[in-house]
C-alpha cells in the first residue's frame, strides 16, 4: 500500500490519517475535505487517478493543516514517530512539511522499525530536510525541479533559498548539477529532475531524458511537479521499478498537460482530469510494443 504524508493550507485542519478518496476536485479523508489545487492534495489526487487506472488500492493519507507556522508539521512528525514503526507500507511519499532536520531523523528512525523497509520517496520540504540531515542516500527517489536540484548540488546550502550564486540553476547545467549532488551524497538512489526537459538519473549519470510533448506554460503552473510525484508514487506502489515509474510519470504528466492545452494561468486540477487518459495511452503503447516483441 502507498502512504502519502503532507500538509494542507488550512490552519484549522486537524491531523487526519486514513484512506483518501477523490470526488469532483476535492479529496476526502476521515470525513474532512480539501480542494485539489496544488501541494499535497494535488499529489494525492494524481496518485488516486493513477491507482484507479492500475486497479490497485488507493493511497492512505497522513494530513494536517499548516500554513507555515510549522506547528501542524511538528504534530504530524510526532504522530509518525509513534505509528510508522508498526505500519506495513510498500511505498511512502513524503511531501510538503516544514523542513526540520531533527524531526526528519526521528521519522526515519521510525521507518527503520518497520518490518519491511518501504520504498521511500521525498519531495518538497521533506526532501529539503532529508538533504540537510545528510541522509539523502537512504531514499529511493527525490523529485526536485531545477532550482531544487541546484540546492541538492550545493553541499553548503541548508535550503534552496541559500543556494550559492555560482551554482546556477540553468537547464544546460543539469548534468553537472546531478553529478555534483551525487558526489556530495546529497541525492536519492534515483533522481527525477522536473523541467523543460525531464531527467531521470542515478549515481552513474543520466539514464533517460524526456522532452515531449512540451508545453512551455506548465513551468509557471503551481502543482505540476506535485502531480508527477503522485503518479510516480502510485506506479512504484504497483511494483514498477523506480526508474521505469519515474519515466512513465513524466511522460504521463506531459501528455496530460498537452491534453489540457494550458496557458500560464491554467490551474493544476485541469491536468489531474487528464491523467487517466494519458496513462492509458502510455500503458497501452507499452503493451503493444511488448506484443510486437513477443510476435
Amino acid at each position: 500500500m502507498l502512504a502519502i504524508i503532507g500538509t494542507v493550507p488550512d490552519q484549522d485542519f486537524p491531523l487526519a490519517a486514513g484512506e483518501v478518496v477523490l470526488v469532483n476536485n476535492e479529496i476526502y479523508i476521515e470525513g474532512k475535505k480539501v480542494s485539489v489545487n496544488r501541494g499535497t492534495p494535488a499529489l494525492l489526487a494524481s496518485a488516486i487517478k493513477t491507482c484507479e487506472v492500475l486497479d490497485i488500492p488507493g493511497p492512505f493519507g497522513y494530513l494536517v493543516g499548516d500554513i507555515g507556522h510549522g506547528d501542524g508539521s511538528r504534530s504530524l512528525y510526532e504522530h509518525l514517530t509513534r505509528v510508522l514503526g508498526k505500519c506495513n507500507y510498500h511505498t511512502i511519499a513524503f511531501h510538503y512539511l516544514q523542513p526540520d532536520a531533527d524531526w526528519h531523523n526521528r521519522v526515519l528512525f521510525a521507518v527503520e522499525e518497520m518490518a519491511q523497509r518501504p520504498v521511500l520517496i521525498a519531495d518538497a520540504g521533506f526532501m529539503y530536510a532529508a538533504k540537510m540531515s545528510g541522509r539523502s542516500c537512504e531514499y529511493d527517489l527525490f523529485t526536485p525541479d531545477i532550482g531544487e536540484l541546484a540546492f541538492l548540488a550545493d553541499e553548503e546550502a541548508p535550503h534552496p533559498f541559500y543556494t550559492r550564486g555560482f551554482i546556477l540553476h540553468e537547464e544546460n547545467r543539469v548534468p553537472d548539477l546531478i553529478s555534483r549532488a551525487y558526489s556530495h551524497r546529497n541525492a536519492a538512489r534515483c533522481l527525477l529532475v522536473k523541467g523543460e526537459k525531464d531527467y531521470v538519473a542515478d549515481s552513474e549519470g543520466i539514464r533517460t531524458v524526456v522532452d515531449h510533448p512540451s508545453e512551455e506554460a506548465m513551468e509557471a503552473m503551481g502543482g505540476t511537479g506535485d502531480t508527477v510525484t503522485g503518479i510516480a508514487s502510485a506506479l512504484i506502489d504497483s511494483g514498477m521499478p523506480v526508474h521505469d515509474a519515474a519515466v512513465a510519470a513524466v511522460r504521463a504528466n506531459r501528455i496530460a498537460g498537452s491534453y489540457a492545452k494550458p496557458t500560464p494561468a491554467t490551474q493544476v486540477k485541469e491536468i489531474v482530469e487528464h491523467i487517466p487518459g494519458a496513462l492509458e495511452e502510455i500503458l497501452h503503447k507499452e503493451e503493444r510494443i511488448s506484443e510486437q516483441i513477443r510476435a
Binding site: 500538509t7 489545487n37 492534495p41 500554513i67 518538497a124 541548508p158 503551481g222 511537479g225
Partner: protein, 186 residues
C-alpha cells in the same frame, strides 16, 4: 564559583597576552523563535532606517528553515529596545565574525507573451501583464506555499496580500523577493 574562575582566567590572559589577530567583530545576529518573527522584525527595523540584513544562520543554530537578522553591534541596544517596544523581541543576540549564508539574489524572468513569470530561488510568480492579476504561484516546498498561492492567485498585484505579510518560511520569503521584483518591473 567556577564561572568566576573562568572569567578571572580570561582577564589574566587579557593582561598577559596580546589580543590575537582575527576578524573584526562589529556585527551581531538576532535569533528569533520563528521565521515569521524575523520577517516582522525586518519590516520594523528597515522602516526605522537601521542598516540590517536578513541572512542564513551559522551552522550551529540551523534547524532547517531559518533566517536571522544581521545588525551593527554598535546599535544593539537601540535595536533591541525598538523590538521590545513592538512586542517582537529576539530570543538572543550573538556577535558574529564568520561569513553568513547569503540569501539568493538572482532573478530569472520568462516572458510568455501575455504572461510574465519571475523566479527567485525556488519560487515562481506569474502574472497577466494586461490586468496585473496573479495567475499562478509555483515551486517551493515549505507548507506556506500552497497557502500563499491560495491567498494570492486571482488577485491583482495591488490587491493581493504580500508574502511578507502572510508568509512564514524561507519559501515565503523567496516569493516576497519575486513579488518585489515583479512590482519593480511592472
Amino acid at each position: 564559583m567556577r564561572k568566576l574562575a573562568f572569567l578571572n582566567n580570561i582577564f589574566k590572559q587579557r593582561k598577559s597576552e596580546p589580543a590575537p589577530e582575527g576578524p573584526k567583530v562589529d556585527r551581531g545576529i538576532l535569533v528569533f523563535e520563528n521565521t515569521s518573527e524575523v520577517i516582522r522584525a525586518e519590516g520594523i527595523l528597515k522602516k526605522k532606517g537601521w542598516d540590517i540584513r536578513v541572512m542564513g544562520p551559522p551552522p550551529e543554530i540551523r534547524s532547517g528553515c531559518d533566517l536571522i537578522i544581521e545588525i551593527p553591534l554598535i546599535e544593539e541596544l537601540n535595536i533591541l529596545r525598538t523590538l521590545e517596544e513592538v512586542g517582537n523581541p529576539p530570543l538572543q543576540m550573538v556577535p558574529v565574525s564568520s561569513p553568513l549564508l547569503q540569501p539568493v539574489d538572482l532573478f530569472q524572468k520568462k516572458d510568455f507573451g501575455r504572461h510574465l513569470m519571475i523566479r527567485a530561488a525556488n519560487m515562481k510568480l506569474t502574472i497577466d501583464k494586461e490586468t496585473q492579476v496573479i495567475v499562478n504561484v509555483s515551486g517551493g516546498g515549505c507548507p506556506d506555499v500552497p497557502y500563499l498561492a491560495q491567498e494570492m492567485v486571482g488577485k491583482s498585484l495591488s490587491e493581493a496580500p504580500g508574502p511578507r505579510e502572510i508568509g512564514h518560511t524561507l519559501c515565503g520569503y523567496a516569493l516576497q523577493l519575486a513579488y518585489e521584483e515583479m512590482i519593480r518591473r511592472c
